[in-house]
Amino acid sequence: MGQTTVNPDRFHKSQIPFYCLLVPLAAFMALPIIFIVFHAFKPMDEIFAYPPQFYPRKPTLENFRALFTAAKAATVPVSRYVFNSVLATALVVLGTIIISSLAGFALSKMDFRLKGAIFAINNAALMFVPAAVTIPRYMTITFLGIDDTFLAHVLPLLAMPVALFLLKQFIDQIPDALIDAATVDGAGALSVFFKVILPMIRPAVATGAILAFQLSWNNIETSSVFTTQEEVRTLAFYMSTLSASGAVAGQGMAAAATLVMFVPNLVLFVILQSNVMNTMAHSGLK
């Protein structure tokens, strides 16, 4: 067959029009990020150069050094922000996948009265925009007494409707027979979850982990709204103060910080890409 088909095995010249569309658009998407990568390695005189240089002539780690030493003059060293970010993100990722896979298992494979209602409410919550209700969220957090504490970075992010939705949809395709077999052998619900379900939903768990990672790692709302002390703030917040100052001098540092923020996201996605695609195949909303 000479025509293009979906998911072809090899190259055929009829695919050229698609490349003509995809390559320029992919370049448009990626270019700003490539800019920032190059910018992060430019020495001061090249940052100020006119006309601006696309790539660094004399690449240097100066900006990264500045980023990690400059803040020593401030109240808190950058390493503290990094530590807070890493710990908060690790807890959010772990917490999110545990509670949403438990809940997804219940919604998918158990029968109970409120099942339909809970799933419907969660689907509606897919449309939830946290920024719209920052004020009542702030009140809830103050009421619980976790404002200005490390927990403010973790607890509010754990219930993630998208993560529950994707996990539930993924668990749906596990045959009931597998669960019945385990139950007949005398396994309780918890051991079914750990021995049958968990090993089979790794792609969805990986996807939930990526989404939770992005949410927490890039989150500045918690640091800027729910805390007042520098000791409990995160790298994303520190970065926002660098870029908010708007000074050209901070540009190199801001670029370096952006790169530091971006790379973990990228690495995680590259490693888990096939898992994500596998999960998304079951993401249909009816």
Partner: protein
Amino acid sequence: MIQKKYVPYGFLAPYLLLFSAFIIVPVAMAIALGFTNFNAISFPKFIGLLNYVNLFTQDLIFLQHVLPNSILFALIVGPGGYALAFLLAWSLAQIQKGPRAVLSMLIYSPSMTAGVAVSVVWRLIFLGSPQGYINAILKQLGLVNEPINFFFNAQFIMPIIILVAIWSSMGVGFLAMLAGVLNIDKTLYEAAAIDGMKSRLQEIFYITIPSMKPQMLFGAVMSIVGAFQAGAIGVMLTGSNPTPAYAGQLMVNHIEDYGFIRYEMGYASAASVVLLAIIWGFSQASRKVLKDD
């Protein structure tokens, strides 16, 4: 199926507890506070629908800037970003696996740079000095003498915000649609070819889209939410709330302005209820469009 009465609730408990505390309760509180006058210090005073009446009749900033800006922004970024996401996903499905993995990662990469990182990147590109990339290019082409201060020029703020929002909108919805196109049974296309279907366009409308409606809907909801959430970038790009001449002011910024700068929490809550209602309305509309067959 596991059918013990209390077991399911045990599994659901941690999620439901946190879900209630940080999603249900805040939304309920926003609805309740929307009916009050509340300055964050004294007890909220019930004032009925006054906040809503004021929002739609008195608030000139809302009526002249925020509402038109939001409608323009939502109409372009919502359907526009969604259509682009589908077009890209469909095109990616027509090429081999290797290049597809690389190109789809590049297209998805802006979604990994949320919030601040986005503003750092784009500020650099639109910098209002000769060192900015766009200004340097314009000057070299001889189109301008003095660098344009993009972020202080009301005329440019909105187009930039829209560009940046579309740039960062190829997220989860895009990935879902890509997976959807790839998962369509190949025999459907073969059968259609035998039945005499010739054009690719016919294929899209009679096979591809109908076969992946659930993913299309999920993608639509994600792109609507993403579009309204992206509203915050105007403030990050220009570095001030309100944005210069309110040119980039969107709903999210207006809520923040009243809530955290003016401390009119009741009024801000009413505005957030309106925002959530708009998002819900858009999602219902896309559900209708995609279900209609």
